[in-house]
């Protein structure tokens, strides 16, 4: 069962062995870490097949990896074995403008996939925020992001995939629809070596609206009301003013409102409205203005120029980076039923108070994805006990409320204990069929 048994059969593959393995191959952005015994940089499905076949026979673990930008340790080889890097299998093979599809290899970066679609006058909507993630990693975690509310997650855009099974067999998803679970399977059910993605026509026009509220609960409730009224916002984000202020103190410009006509803003609802053209978007805004009275928002601010939209999105994306730049920080990313977001945030504030952790929130109100962040001036080691207890409490609460600790970043190795029992069972059946020897990304589980 050792790596040495496998090595002779890997001739022709690019294999990296200690001490030449770069340290990055042993970690991602979650903090989980373990170095693999070997790294294989694959450049074709045939190479992946050769590797998996050999490893299955020898019982050696294989952990597929993209850009290593994950937040849950999904690509960390917690049981050692081989890390299969797909970063160099990164071609964008074809865009069919008429059919609105793109064939792409898993190592292509999300930013390149998006840019290529735009070059053809189309768009690829899923966007978890991290543009330097690979599309393969997005498929493995079924990444969503704020736009998921209207546009769904990565799996909604996968029309077909070339999958290498643990046995080394290469299959196509469209021939085996029962293997759909591979998308979102975090590399535990098969290795995707090519994806056919569905692309969309871009919206003719869009605008980002900011609805500031004097109290957070009204803000959290407003999104549901707006969606129920038939608006289809591409994003509906809860922006906690505490987070806006903190991020603003780091970047020098809060951008989002903190105070309005002398009144303190508790939270802002950021909505993206889309339409065929400017007038169609304007019309939606005007009818929304009537609803706004009832919603009790303080104002409706409009960003509809490229500069303003860019500024909003940059400020929004700075939340995460400004938190990570703090001396000590923690984050819990979960999803809960959309109507229970406020309840979850109230719980987090309460438990945070007990533990001495002051959470700040950003939530996808439509889908129920909630990011709770906290920062501290304490040293990391001093802050860890309370912040870890805080994050654990939040994971457990998300499950209790009927949501998922996996949130939108996957389960990986850091959130396994929070996967619901029935989900485990359904997954176990597929796992037994596709990877009976359990060599694919062991130590991980999925939703």
């Amino acid at each position: 069962m050792s790596i040495e048994q496998v090595l002779p059969s890997l001739e022709g593959l690019k294999v990296i062995l200690p001490p030449d393995i770069p340290s990055d191959y042993g970690r991602d952005e979650s903090g989980a870490a373990r170095m693999p015994e070997a790294v294989v940089e694959a450049t074709s499905a045939a190479e992946v097949s050769k590797l998996l076949g050999a490893c299955a026979a020898a019982g050696v673990a294989v952990t597929p990896r993209g850009a290593g930008t994950g937040q849950a340790g999904g690509c960390v080889p917690v049981n050692g074995g081989v890390v299969l890097s797909l970063a160099k299998l990164n071609g964008i093979l074809e865009v069919d403008e008429a059919a609105r599809t793109m064939r792409v290899q898993p190592g292509a970066l999300l930013q390149d996939v998006k840019a290529e679609a735009e070059r053809h006058g189309l768009r690829y909507p899923p966007d978890p925020g991290e543009k330097t993630a690979t599309i393969g990693g997005n498929a493995a975690t079924d990444a969503g992001g704020p736009g998921a509310l209207k546009y769904g997650t990565t799996s909604d855009y996968v029309l077909d995939a070339e999958i290498v099974l643990a046995s080394g067999e290469i299959v196509r998803l469209k021939d085996r629809p029962e293997y759909a679970g591979v998308i979102g399977g975090e590399g535990t059910l098969g290795v995707v070596t090519e994806l056919t993605l569905r692309l969309e026509e871009p919206a003719g026009s869009d605008a980002i609206l900011l609805l500031p509220f004097a109290d957070g609960e009204s803000c959290a409730a407003a999104a549901g009301r707006i969606i129920a009224e038939g608006y289809a916002p591409a994003m509906a984000e809860y922006l906690d003013t505490a987070l806006v202020e903190y991020s603003g103190s780091v970047t020098g410009n809060a951008v989002f409102p903190v105070e309005l006509d002398g009144e303190r803003v508790a939270a802002t609802l950021m909505l993206t409205l889309e339409g065929a053209d400017e007038d169609a978007v304007m019309e939606q805004m005007e009818t929304l203005a009537e609803l706004a009275e009832e919603l009790e928002c303080l104002d409706i601010l409009v960003g509809d120029t490229p500069t303003m939209k860019r500024e909003f999105m940059a400020a929004y994306e700075a939340f995460h980076s400004s938190v990570e730049g703090a001396k000590s920080s923690c984050e819990a990313n979960v999803s809960v039923p959309a109507q229970r977001v406020w309840e979850y945030m109230e719980y987090a504030r309460g438990v945070g108070e007990e533990l001495g952790v002051k959470p700040m929130f950003c939530a996808h109100l439509g889908s129920g994805g909630v990011h709770a962040y906290a920062v501290s001036e304490q040293a990391r080691s001093e802050y860890a006990p309370q912040s870890e207890a805080f994050v654990k409490a939040l994971y457990a609460e998300s499950v209790r409320l009927g949501g998922e600790a996996a949130g939108e970043y996957g389960v990986g190795c850091t959130k396994q204990e929070y996967v619901a029992a029935e989900r485990r069972e359904r997954y176990a059946a597929l796992k037994a069929e596709l990877d009976p020897a359990g060599i694919l990304n062991p130590g991980k589980a999925v939703r």
Binding site: S23, T69, A314, E317, E324
Partner: protein, 332 residues
Amino acid sequence: MGKSEYRDMWVYLEVNGGKLHPVSLELCCEARRLCDESGERLIGVAAGAVPESELAQVKECGVDGLLLVSGSGYERYSTEAYTRLFTELCRKYRPSAVFVGATANGRDFAPRFAARLETGCTSDATELIYNPESRDIEFVEPAAGGKIMAVITIPELRPQVGTIRPGTFKHAPTGRREVVEVINETLPCPAEEIRTRLLDYKADERDAELDISDSETIVCVGNGVKDESLPKYRELAALLGGKLACTRPVADRELLSNKLQVGQSGVMIKPKLYLGFGVSGAVNHVTGIDAGTFIAVNTDPDAPIFNYCDYGIVADMDAVCDELIALLKRGA
């Protein structure tokens, strides 16, 4: 009046607190070269008191003459006094070109006196070419965010006014001329013309981290940098005894202060060692770098930065940074 009636190139000698601004010497050296080609004389122009030691430095740059103006109104900088001064001097002496360092004050008065004279003014040229046929100076400058180079000329009118960023040209004195003519002018500016009053001046608290212009080692991050990776580049800079800097897009992303922005619209640097990570190599960035050793790391083998570097590595910037940190720690 035809342009042949205008002769001599001028460099404004900016003096603050008895000290000559380095850009004045840089411009004297560059204009010396142009004058050698055009056969014109190079004149340094200063107003107010200038210490002899500073003038000696100017002479070393090969000026043919010094035009020293005295009179009230030059004790401190004012838009009005300097606009008036250069307008009157240009009308009287008719230089063919006036070069002004693009300091805060240089950029304040140069366009204004050019407007009063109804002549052309260019800014931020990175290269100056004398065209012997047209007898015009060609001001070459990056345009449209550095995507293209534009040649600007002032073909009909004189003087040709140009503001030039500090650090664009080298201070490489070619030596004193045998004869340096000194012209003394008295040209007071009436107090009632001055319409701004200095109430207070506060020197910036010198945040050494933010002062990259004289640093011998610069670790520069470009748009390829991930937000969360910044601390490791800071660490690398510290281990190398240097400072962290960035490109315009990174400053625009507000990841780092615009005081750390290297290039045309930022700070010009002259480090012994420059390491660029994830820097694409836009012209307006690289024209701001005059490095002893220039190292570039980028995943894109076609990135233009590799055309400016001495050594390059095509690889993930974070992986290279980590490895370099590890080696520096081990080697230390």
